[in-house]
């Protein structure tokens, strides 16, 4: 746990010469889980469309907390976020697929927050799954029957289909991102990165 006086995380604001309209802007003035212990010192982050940013720091310095706030999973004690797309897709460090759902149902689960009929959800999920290189046989398998890489790919498909401007790669080691990128995604992902702001 960080102690209470250290300035825990300070993200350097984007000072580009040519200011583009920002896709995401996060301003945290203060964040605490416990009233007496400051978790995040004031920090800001401005991201333009197509920009890729990594947040690097020692463990326990508040990277995940900052990302959670930026992604809208939790609210900062004091601060504000504006996200051009209103929503964010999040790729967690672990795959977080539901063990009791087949791969296809897991992918379509990501669409439940949208106003789609079940048929539309299934259709879209199937398209994304095929685009991700899954075969028909894979779609009915449970996560426990898939290899580690396939699970990550499933989680990527679940987030990717939302076509959101903003995507967070939560707590990924550089290696796991590289593995994900190298194993499949090559071309599609670069295209995606160009149109997205990515952490």
């Amino acid at each position: 746990m960080p102690n209470e006086t250290a300035p825990l995380l300070s993200v350097v604001p984007n000072t580009s010469v040519d200011p583009k309209p920002s896709a995401l802007s996060v301003t945290v003035k203060d964040h605490r889980y416990h009233p007496l212990q400051q978790t995040l010192a004031p920090c800001t982050l401005e991201l333009a469309k197509g920009e890729v940013v990594s947040i690097i720091g020692p463990s326990g310095c508040g990277k995940s907390t900052f990302l959670r706030i930026a992604a809208g999973l939790i609210e900062a004690s004091e601060g504000k976020i504006s996200n051009a797309s209103k929503r964010a897709a999040i790729l967690f460090q672990e795959h977080r697929l539901l063990p009791w759902k087949s791969l296809l149902n897991n992918i379509s689960f990501g669409l439940q927050g949208q106003k789609l009929t079940k048929f539309q959800r299934m259709k879209k999920a199937r398209e994304v799954a095929y685009a991700m290189g899954f075969s028909e046989d894979d779609l009915i398998k449970y996560p426990s029957e898939l290899s580690g890489g396939m699970r990550q790919r499933g989680a990527l498909a679940r987030a990717w289909q939302l076509n959101l401007i903003c995507c967070f790669w939560m707590n990924h080691s550089v290696r796991s991102i590289l593995v994900a990128v190298v194993t499949f995604i090559g071309r599609c992902c670069t295209r995606w990165i160009r149109s997205s702001a990515l952490f």
Partner: protein, 260 residues
């Protein structure tokens, strides 16, 4: 697909053989007991089975079984309804779970026999006593199962569902409920078994009809054959319930765990 169905069927049949072998072993040991100690201690298995057929063939015998089953299920379903709903609420609210703790300790600590005496005073010799006794002795088990299920669920999955803006009800059904069920189910199965034992005990002491009453009658007449016949009926019904109700439900809700 056909291959898969065939192999499941074969598996089922094979495990059926195992159960059957176990049952026959019990009857063999029973026969040895009869030959060693005489028919007053243990009647011959065949004699007890003959008595069983007589009992079931009688309209009153069949009625006794139905009455007992009705009471056990009524108590068990009531306990499930209350136990699950309170367990869920207590799992989500810390204050409530603290409030509920003493009640659970009391319900677990008071012996079922004491509940029977109390219930006799409250409800008399009718259906109320066995139903209440079953209810009060299975309630804490089911409550604790539901509470544990809510408590032990993976918060990461909730966070994931939230990040996709999945509506609250869907989040409950698709993310939380399967986890809760995997804790609740074993408790639920134990409670069902317990409800059969408790209902017979309550009837033995309080009722004039039902399997327990039949056992009381057999005791008065020093009729070991009838006693054993009733025991075989109770155990047999429990096995049937397990095979016909619990196992299919278990396969349905926990099928994903056995995926190879």
């Amino acid at each position: 697909m056909i291959h898969h169905m065939l192999s499941t069927l074969l598996n089922k049949l094979w495990s059926g053989w195992g159960t059957l072998a176990g049952v026959f072993l019990i009857f063999a040991l029973w026969q040895i007991g009869f030959e060693a100690f005489g028919s007053l201690v243990l009647p011959a298995p065949m004699e007890a089975l003959g008595r069983l057929i007589d009992l079931v063939a009688l309209p009153s015998g069949f009625e006794y079984i139905l009455i007992t089953a009705k009471r056990a299920f009524a108590g068990f379903l009531l306990a499930s309804a209350f136990g699950i709903s309170f367990g869920l609420i207590a799992g989500w609210s810390n204050t409530l779970s603290l409030l509920c703790k003493p009640f659970i300790t009391v319900a677990l600590g008071v012996p079922p026999i004491a509940w029977i005496v109390l219930a006799l005073l409250w409800f008399g010799g009718d259906d109320g006593t066995p139903i209440f006794t079953v209810f009060i002795s299975t309630l804490p088990l089911i409550f604790a199962g539901a509470l544990q299920g809510v408590r032990m669920r993976e918060k990461e999955l909730d966070e994931m569902a939230k990040s996709f803006h999945v509506p609250l009800i869907q989040r409950f059904w698709q993310v939380q409920a399967p986890q809760i069920v995997s804790y609740l189910f074993p408790a639920w199965a134990t409670a069902l078994g317990l409800s059969w034992k408790v209902v017979v005990m309550a009837e033995l002491l309080s009722s004039t009809r039902g399997i327990g009453a039949g056992l009381a009658e057999a005791r008065v007449n020093i009729d070991t054959a009838s006693t054993m016949a009733w025991i075989v009926i109770v155990v047999g019904l429990l096995l049937v319930i397990e095979g016909m109700l619990l196992n299919p439900v278990k396969d349905y809700v926990e099928g994903w765990k056995h995926a190879e």
